[in-house]
């Protein structure tokens, strides 16, 4: 099987945008075509990662609409919905389309338009992924985070401040990301005194509601060389699920989807956690950065918080996590997030991350849907 390469990428400004979902997808798609130097008629497959354009905006059929706007007909198109991990799932499908030989050029565009909805409305659209026995109690994704954070702090004797330090770190990283929704630092006191959202978690423990889009271009390595010398290889990609009903998990502080998807990705890449130089994790809530950093094997169970306390996950640390600012600072336009995570690793491995640049030859992105219900882990290598 030939290596699958990423030869181009793009990301729109994340935040509150005037455009609607098709405008955002077209913006990222056009920029990605330009970046890769690929003509629209060369695209064999076009995937759109999106969770809920119908529910948020009343716009369905977005892959076909985007193919028309980009003049990419007659490319095969499909929408990839895996809730918050739609972007990661799109990466997996794009990789699969090329690795299988079905496509020689696959464009993946992820995006979501959310900010026209009120926070309670957007929260409810996202919470609609829950089981009826959960939904009728008014459970939200933030409340799952509050339940898990309390158990984690109690089980591992971790200080509340350690969660706040994740937010402080990722906001600091986001200052240098021109496409991030928030490009400003916050101090620990501000985080710890912000309004409670889901006790013990506060406003600054949560990512914002965001509009935005990101895109990537995939092809076989032999084709990549016809276009550029600057590409990266997708060396491993794995996907896995955990229970739909969150309370059925024996240990809520372990994300089995992360464990299983990373095992698949590590095996495919013939690598292990010790080989990863930089990682983008799904910090939709600060507690998720602890859980993923442990379940990916970076740190022992219950010790992810210590790594943050010791500064090991800072941009200058031995394992930088979320140099982009993460979902926390960059924003979380659901279907775009997993694509934007891989785009950040792509830029880091090419040495094009500007002030965010870290020293890295191998990078990992972990994209989480629901509250760990579906997970995609992707490993990339510089050439």
């Amino acid at each position: 099987m030939e290596n699958v390469a990423i030869i181009g990428g793009s990301m729109t400004q994340f935040g509150q945008r005037d455009g609607w979902v098709l405008d955002l997808l077209s913006e990222a798609g056009t920029a990605c075509l330009d970046d890769a130097g690929v003509s629209p008629d060369a695209i064999d497959h076009l995937y759109v990662s999106n969770m809920a354009s119908g529910e948020f905006e009343g716009q369905t059929g977005v892959p076909n609409a985007l193919a028309h706007d980009l003049a990419a007909m007659p490319a095969y198109t499909a929408r990839i919905d895996q809730t918050s991990s739609s972007g990661g799932a799109g990466v997996k499908h794009a990789w699969q389309s090329v690795a299988s030989g079905a496509s020689d050029m696959t464009l993946l565009v992820g995006g979501e338009k959310m900010t026209h909805r009120t926070t309670p409305e957007a929260t409810d659209v996202i919470a609609s992924l829950t089981h009826p026995v959960e939904y009728k109690h008014g459970v939200t994704l933030p409340s799952f985070a509050g339940l898990t954070a309390r158990l984690y702090l109690d089980t591992y004797d971790a200080p509340r401040e350690s969660l706040g330090k994740v937010a402080v770190k990722n906001h600091r990283h986001g200052v240098h990301n021109p496409n991030a929704q928030f490009q400003k630092e916050v101090d620990l006191e501000t985080v710890l005194e912000s309004p409670i959202v889901a006790d013990p978690l506060r406003l600054y423990d949560f990512c914002p509601i965001t509009d935005g889009s990101a895109a990537l271009m995939f092809c076989p390595e032999s084709v990549a060389k016809e276009y550029t010398d600057d590409y990266v290889i997708v060396s491993g990609v794995g996907g896995a699920t955990d229970t739909h009903v969150v309370h059925e998990r024996a240990d809520p502080t372990t994300m089995r989807g992360v464990v299983e998807s990373s095992r698949i990705a590590y095996d495919m890449a013939d690598a292990g956690p010790e080989d990863i130089d930089v990682a983008e994790l799904h910090d939709m809530f600060t507690i998720l950065e602890f859980l993923q950093s442990e379940d990916l094997g970076f740190f022992e169970k219950g010790e992810g918080w210590k790594a943050v306390e010791e500064g090991r996950t800072e941009r200058g640390g031995d394992l930088p996590i979320n140099p982009s600012g993460g979902l926390k600072s960059k924003g979380h336009p659901l279907g775009a997030s997993g694509v934007a995570q891989v785009y950040e690793i792509y830029e880091q491995l090419l040495g094009e991350a500007g002030e965010r640049q870290v020293d890295a030859d191998t990078g990992l992105a972990c994209n989480v849907g629901g509250f760990g219900n579906c997970v995609i882990t992707t490993i990339m290598e510089a050439v």
Partner: protein, 118 residues
């Protein structure tokens, strides 16, 4: 009735599933409302979605059904709750306002049980 399913290997799940954790179909049901449970963790949500009480204190609890553990999530009748507390299910006719949120009102039931510290 807070109906859980029991499977041939003895395991119990709430809610029930057509196929259980061991890969077999259920053979019995258990009414969890007849048991007490222990609070595993809890939170108070101050930003609930439309049609939900504010604040909304929620807990994951664990029942012990003749030695077999089974967990459930539900609202708590008070915000005075701690990990390890013993609670009992209390019936509530309407847990949130049907139709206020995105889900089709006819697609699911809206009554159920909240947990009250014993």
């Amino acid at each position: 009735m807070m109906e859980a399913y029991q499977y041939p290997d003895g395991s119990i799940t709430y809610p029930g599933h057509p196929i259980g954790p061991g890969g077999e179909e259920p053979v019995d049901t258990v009414d969890l409302s007849e048991y007490t449970a222990e609070v595993i963790t809890w939170t108070t949500s101050t930003a609930p979605p439309p049609g939900v009480r504010e604040p909304n204190t929620l807990a994951i609890v664990e029942f012990d059904v003749d030695g077999e553990p089974v967990r459930a999530l539900g609202g708590v009748t008070t915000d005075e709750v701690e990990i390890g507390d013993e609670v009992r299910p209390v019936y509530v006719e309407e847990l949130r306002e049907p139709g206020a949120g995105i889900r089709e009102p006819e697609s699911q039931e809206w009554d159920g049980y909240r947990f009250e510290p014993v």
